[in-house]
Assembly symmetry: C2
Amino acid sequence: MQISDAESIVMDALWGRSPLSAEEIVALTADAQGWQEATVKTLLNRLLTKKAIAAERDGRRYLYRPLVPRSDYVDAESTSLLDRLFGGRVAPLVAHFSEQRKLTKKDIAELKRLIAEIDDGE
Amino acid sequence: MQISDAESIVMDALWGRSPLSAEEIVALTADAQGWQEATVKTLLNRLLTKKAIAAERDGRRYLYRPLVPRSDYVDAESTSLLDRLFGGRVAPLVAHFSEQRKLTKKDIAELKRLIAEIDDGE
DNA sequence: GCATTTCGTTTACATCCGTAATCGATGATC
DNA sequence: GATCATCGATTACGGATGTAAACGAAATGC
């Protein structure tokens, strides 16, 4: 099962720190998203049934923690995008951003450093 | 309005060549996707109401063409992913794939060439 | 001209998703 | 102990999506 966009906001909170109570998750997300508490509760429940998070009892309430690592999620999303749009490879995506003039000098510098590093390590 | 995943398959056909008749689009997509003709018809209709494509009469049938350029779609999708997962920047995505050992030597070579090229042009 | 095929249009329907409100149980208060 | 607050679970509901069948008009074959 798939983590939806809204659910991923909740996951973000838990990837940032865990375990968290529902209340804490609400505090971290609701305002920024314009959500009611009830919305967060729903999302927590859906994530539970999807086995994307787990809940452990802590007295009267539950504490939630991610079961899916952020890197798995990031990887699935990124790979899916690359496969759908760029033949599964990274370079064409970089090329696209370059063509769209969406690369700042900083981006380019960072990429250069990164490539050098990778190339070095390999 | 948003082009959905299934709709983007139809768009792909049209981005590849256009204008195309519904029949041609069915030929290009249905088998690969395991779709019935009816499904393609529905998707064409939804794309029409979304103004993502246009239809021009050609005798008894219509010929369809994209109104949304592929680069616009690619850009929207990519930017959304980068914003959601990588702070809106390309380098962290490349870093992620590197960490996941998902970069082949060819990818790295290609990236290096690309960066050099960009760096040169700027 | 009538039956048949062919298109596009309309309708269908289950699921997912975003967004919440309500309900029921459990714990806290007076 | 009765009442109030809290928390998770259940129910709600409209819109988007995937997937398609049914319908109706127009063209084609005899």
